[in-house]
């Protein structure tokens, strides 16, 4: 029954994270995980010059960990889940790199599917991270997406 979060520069291994998450719990019948990765191109960008050469991820140390823990607690109260794990990378990332992992275990699949999406929607709209893209045209801070806000609104 662990609910843990790591903010780290290092990459993560999905198989190892899941193995750890369900190691001591024989009541688990479902594991749901999501891995977010760096896209080379934004849908709005038409030319190769707009392609992302790297991504810099900044966060608010302290508040990040605390707020994700609080939201994991709310996921725990909301869904019948056994354990959850969030890993979010910071620093310099390249296209195809893994950025974020959310993994949830439960007795039956429905609860872990929903909790995983709930935690991801939270991470997209509430957790204090900021992305800055580097392209051939220069650097720019990524804008927040309305579609992410709408996804979060489903849960309120």
């Amino acid at each position: 029954m662990s609910f843990t979060v790591s903010i780290q520069v290092e990459d993560f291994d999905l198989s190892k994270e899941i193995a750890l998450l369900r190691a001591d719990d024989s009541s688990v019948g479902a594991v749901c995980s999501f891995v977010g990765t760096v896209r080379e191109r934004d849908e709005s960008v038409q030319t190769p010059e707009g392609n992302i050469s790297s991504l810099e991820l900044e966060h608010y140390p302290g508040m990040t960990e605390r707020s994700i823990q609080q939201f994991m607690q709310s996921a725990r109260e909301r869904f019948n889940i056994n354990a959850a794990r969030v890993v979010h990378r910071i620093g310099l990332l390249l296209p195809k790199d893994q950025i974020v992992l959310v993994a949830v275990t439960s007795a039956h699949r429905g609860e872990s599917f929903r909790a995983c999406e709930y935690l991801m929607d939270y991470l997209k709209t509430q957790a204090p991270f900021w992305k800055k893209e580097q392209t051939a045209l220069g650097a720019r801070w990524v804008d927040a997406r309305v579609s992410d806000e709408q996804a979060m609104a489903r849960w309120v």
Binding site: E58, Y60, V100, W130
Partner: protein, 83 residues
């Protein structure tokens, strides 16, 4: 009272500093923001955009009317884009 102010992402970059400690008479978040805007220059430029400016007091999201306390930590930042 003293307030420890933090800036992140585009706000930090525009102001050229990540944090500063301010001695203020401001009672709430909005009064402190106005005080900073009165300094002019980049402060006025960046902190006037209330629609896209988020604030957190002692690491919890807060609003313009949230009250400040001695030694508190107040952060200004743009909408988040993690995940």
């Amino acid at each position: 009272m003293k307030v420890h102010v933090l800036y992140f992402a585009s706000v930090r970059e525009a102001l050229g500093i990540g944090s500063e400690t301010i001695d203020t008479q401001a009672q709430n978040v909005d009064e402190l923001r106005s005080e900073l805007i009165a300094k002019g220059g980049q402060y006025a430029e960046v902190l006037s955009h209330t629609r896209v400016l988020k604030t957190a007091l002692n690491q919890d999201m807060c609003t313009a009317s949230t009250l400040l306390t001695e030694g508190c930590e107040l952060a200004f930042f743009p909408p988040v884009t993690g995940g």
